[in-house]
Symmetry: C2
Subunit: 703 residues, 2 copies
């Protein structure tokens, strides 16, 4: 990102509209009209070769004739003349181009996009778009778009890949009363992408929360890096998470969607809160733009009705902040503000008798109490109370507490008066929602944000150059042989270079050599054929297990060679591998996949039915930290297996986390070489006794 360039592009002091029109209904007219109507105080230069004035503004036939500096140019001319126009902008010294025009990569004309980029790069210009609605900024009164008007003002900023959604949401900000400072349409992301804007927003004093609508992205790692560095909460709605939806998204923006599961992992790793749908994006954005993170697990719920209290309690469990009973001193104090049939536990039920004062007293006390990490206040409208007064009581209590680092969310269930009172709360910085579970969900997003902040910084990675070189040497040898995969022996050498314990394995070319190696490794042994032409070794009769003595080695060696020749007469046979037979352990699998958006990712799961039947696996973008590896181990459904079931002792999770870390380093370092790989099975032993990679596979990228 070039901060100054993006400043000039998105918060310009002077703007040209290339393709400005005097004809109402044309986009080139609407953009000029919008900039004027928005109250923009910078200079506006419509560019049009045929007319002299548009909406009272003097026009220029070419941008180079403008007698002033131009920060940002909004371009609406057809794609086919774009190169020429960009060239002119470059010569004029424009900094940022907001390219509204469509007809580029989204319709298969990536060539036009590349041409435009090449010219812009030559002049040091940045491009937003193409194929966008434009860019809007409330704090600059700049509506550089054909969206209807500046959004309802607030502290969040939205970046969206769907222009139609930007227009519709722009208007919805008023009815939903969710305030935004900036709305940016990002379109094809030929140049400026999510990562650039995340970085830029981090220094924008008018933005407290970044809200994203994502269909797909090209450079997922840049996104993760930018998000991880951001000091502001980021909330993202990823669409195209279903199989059919991903196809629809791809045909819509031409971007590769990547696997939904990997986006979810990447968001976690990047510290980004994920929204589940459009309402959730609005609700979470509002909350994260107005409230601080929830730094502990103690959530207190105040209500005047048992029903909403129960619904909120269910939601607390559903969204990952299950309620605990409030401590005795808290209960004792709260009991002073409720009738006998109320409940001071948690959820606190002040009962329908609760009026302004009880709401004020209990909110003030419980918000200030050190036990409370987050407070949700619920109110069911009653005939005896006035929602506005209840809202003011809550606000007064929060203000008087003087606390700025503890969050509160509110829900009022009721009619028009409740809606108005909630609007007032939101205007005063307290997020309020029409259903109790949403207030809890909002609080959960503040809790998630706090958790993810710890998590995202747990990542420290440095390439082990020595390990990498050892691995590259093994790979180079295979490449020299013109092979696109490593033998098991080679693959294990690579795994071993990165520190993973592998079963001892050596290649024997003769029977005597096999015996010597076998004695060195120690019984029992496994003997396996080694041939790049025989991939399915068992099918070829090329594997013999549980060899217990020298005679066994000799017999197995002969049988394996005989079987191999019978299986494929012209097979290139390297010899027979003599392998340590690892004792039984819990089977786990490590694997790697190259995601189109995020590159090399690591997969972890338990072996057998867990992976085959239950698809019980989890992913992370590499490299992962030890803490992330531990989290992976904990989040599979079969996790209790590793903790020890049916009287078994716990497995060595510490060593397993280490192996996941090492494996992730390996596939990260070797991403230019490895197409896919796995360690299957890895046998994990009792706590303190480690693990063994019993089989390993590495397929190389074609070069």
């Amino acid at each position: 990102m070039d901060k100054q360039v993006l400043d000039k592009m998105l918060r310009p002091k002077s703007v040209a509209i290339i393709g400005a029109s005097a004809t109402p209904g044309k986009i080139g007219y609407t953009v000029v009209d919008n900039i004027i109507k928005g109250g923009y105080t910078g200079k506006i230069y419509p560019i049009n070769p045929t007319c002299t004035e548009i909406l009272g503004l003097k026009t220029y036939p070419e941008i180079e004739q403008v007698p002033d500096e131009i920060d940002s140019a909004i371009i609406t001319v057809p794609a086919k003349v774009m190169a020429e126009v960009v060239e002119e902008c470059g010569r004029k010294g424009v900094k940022g181009l907001i390219v509204i025009t469509s007809g580029f990569s989204e319709v298969g004309r990536k060539d036009l996009e590349d041409q435009m980029l090449e010219i812009a790069a030559r002049y040091g210009m940045r491009i937003l778009g193409p194929n966008i609605v434009g860019s809007l900024s409330n704090s600059d009164k700049f509506n550089g778009s054909f969206a209807p008007g500046l959004p309802f003002p607030g502290k969040a900023s939205l970046v969206t890949q769907s222009g139609a959604l930007l227009i519709a949401l722009d208007m919805a900000t008023y009815t939903r009363r969710v305030g935004f400072d900036k709305l940016i349409s990002i379109g094809n992301m030929a140049d400026v992408d999510f990562a650039d804007l995340i970085e830029w927003f981090d220094e924008d004093e008018n933005t407290t929360c970044v809200s994203l609508y994502i269909e797909g992205m090209k450079n997922g790692r840049k996104f993760i890096d930018a998000a991880r560095k951001s000091s502001k909460p980021i909330v993202a709605l990823k669409s195209g998470v279903s199989a059919h939806g991903a196809a629809a998204a791809a045909s819509h923006t031409g971007s590769l969607a990547g696997a939904a599961k990997i986006y979810t992992s990447a968001f976690k790793q990047a510290g980004v809160i994920q929204a589940t749908d459009l309402n959730d994006l609005f609700n979470r954005t509002l909350t994260l733009s107005q409230q601080p993170p929830m730094k502990g697990d103690n959530l207190l719920i105040l209500s005047n009705g048992g029903g909403v209290g129960v619904l909120a309690t269910d939601a607390a469990e559903k969204y990952g902040i299950p309620l605990k009973f409030a401590p005795a001193d808290v209960q004792e104090e709260l009991k002073k503000h409720m009738p006998d049939f109320g409940s001071a536990k948690n959820p606190v039920d002040l009962t329908g008798m609760a009026g302004n004062d009880w709401y004020y007293q209990t909110t003030k006390f419980s918000f200030s109490h050190k036990w409370t990490d987050g407070l949700v206040v619920l109110y069911c409208e009653t005939a005896m109370t006035n929602p506005q007064e209840i809202a003011e009581s809550i606000k007064k209590a929060v203000d008087e507490s003087g606390l700025k680092d503890k969050p509160i969310t509110v829900s009022f269930v009721g009619g028009e008066k409740s809606d108005k009172a909630m609007g007032w709360l939101v205007e005063n910085g307290i997020p309020a929602f029409g259903a109790p579970d949403i207030a809890v969900n909002a609080m959960a997003s503040l809790r998630d944000y706090a958790r993810l902040q710890e998590y995202k910084n747990s990542d420290h990675f440095e390439t082990d150059e020595k390990a990498k070189q050892m691995a590259l040497d093994v790979i180079a040898k295979a490449r020299a042989d013109n092979r696109d995969s490593l033998t098991e022996i080679e693959a294990k050498e690579v795994f071993k270079a990165y520190g993973m314990p592998v079963t001892s394995i050596s290649l024997s070319k003769t029977e005597d050599e096999a015996v010597a190696l076998g004695k060195k490794i120690g019984f029992p042994l496994v003997l396996k054929i080694v041939s790049p032409d025989i991939l399915h070794k068992s099918d070829a009769g090329g594997v013999k297990v549980n060899i217990k003595d020298e005679a066994g080695i000799r017999e197995a060696f002969q049988t394996i060679l005989k079987n191999a020749k019978a299986y494929k007469a012209d097979a290139d046979i390297h010899g027979v591998a003599i392998q340590e037979m690892a004792p039984w352990g819990t089977e786990v699998i490590l694997g790697s996949v190259n995601d189109p958006a995020f590159g090399p990712t690591v997969m972890f799961g338990l072996g057998g039915i867990f992976v085959e039947v239950l698809k019980d696996v989890t992913f992370r973008v590499t490299p992962v930290s030890h803490a992330q590896a531990e989290e992976m181990i904990g989040e599979i459904k079969g996790a209790p297996i590793l903790a020890g079931v049916r009287g078994e002792k716990p497995r060595d999770k510490k060593e397993l986390a280490k192996a996941i870390y090492q494996y992730s380093c390996m596939i990260y370092d070797l991403q230019d070489e490895i197409k896919e790989s796995d360690a299957n099975p890895v046998l994990v032993y009792e706590e303190g006794t480690g693990l063994k990679v019993a089989d390993a596979r590495i397929i190389l990228k074609a070069k």
Copy 2:
């Protein structure tokens, strides 16, 4: 249910308010005021011993002095004088009592509730409540409650266990524009319960959908029966589904919550749609009250923006109606109403260029097309279109199709104009929502409803009297011995009586008898100690497996008896069981639990880690049909195991479904006798070769 009595209670021609007050702010005043303000046209008789007039109405000191018949009495007097008042109502011939007063079972005074019930029963009166807000009916202009006013009119009717929620939702019906005919507060459900009202609503011409807020219920089976018979859609929000929430609900209404999983199963079995939260209850209620069921799986989505189309597609998969591409002829026709860069697949993207006519043409064509089973129309507000005109185009297209048995839902994303247009659509019978996923969720509820209608009628059950008598004889024998559990031999006799294949097992008292029995059963055999004093047979050395010949039987017989005596010298030893050793098969478990709300339920799951680690089990309220049993088998996560994994042949699911059915009959028939039971393991063999119950356990209810 007594239809006529409930008619008189809830739609009275004359009503008395016992506890009516002349003092504003008192509930007895508010109720009278509400009835008048609501526009009630029946006769109103305030009952108050001290004043002569309330709000212009003549009062009577006692109900018996009213010179007219009274259909319904709304009672607000304190709990302690309730018995007297109910007695007076009975003498007067009142039909229904709406008891607003609290202070009964919810505060531990079930005695007062029982007393009231006993008196009412004597006079044939029914009671709504106590501890309620009252009952409201738009079509009768009857606001017999202290809720603020009649709800926004519509065709749904709501029954809620939370009074505070009724009041709050009453007002919310106006802001949310979800119409209701009746709102009924059901409180402690001392008498009239959900089932009574479901049955009553089925004959109420003003209700097209029944909406329920449930915290807990006492008689779950009555609920299932009533819901199953209902010809109208029922949608239920069950709160207290979390562990902490269940505790909160119990302390709130005093009702036992029962297990959330069992409620979910019971709803399915009853054909009831479950809502996940308050908004979902509103959205689904509106939809089910306005639209017919979706009878097939072909969902078509029309949109003017790729973004909302993708979000809707994701939602379709999430909510169980994944999209398919539209057939070629449909695509061909739709292509006529979009630019080249639009998409006619599904979701259909008419693009931002879509105006009224394209919406009209595509809606009309695709709604009428025989391929389409349900249509979701999405619209992102644009500057070039008018939401109201788009709404009218959609409505016109639907009307002109003349179709009444196919559903449509709509979503407009935009500002105030979109909100107004959606309000207009809803008033005209087309449910419309502010986010695309909600329109899809609404459609999914119509699909679920259609599916559940087929499902709920798949249940046919008749007690097998012969099997039941055989089982009761076995149980009687154990009871005669003063035992509270059956031996394995006895338990298997009960299972066998209900047709389940059990491993052959017989009791031998002598070694020779053991040999004779063993030869009859056939080798290999298992020998087990039989003693009511030795429950953990293996721990006592009382089990020997894989006995292959006569000598083996003799040796095992002696060893077992010796071990048993060593384990417990004074044990009452019945002898040694000689059992067929079943060959290996896939292990499954059947179990039964008595739910506080629903009574005997059957549990099914795979054995081993599936039940121990993954808790991968499913429940049904008994008895289950064969179709339900098949569904249970299909809905566990480990289901693919039974279909055959790792080259194994499929297991005999047909016989397994039969066994689940038989087991469910058994525990349903014997619910007065069996406290808990299980068959663990049941060994399931290859398709066509059945299964065997290898071990069985039955614990009796204390009598």
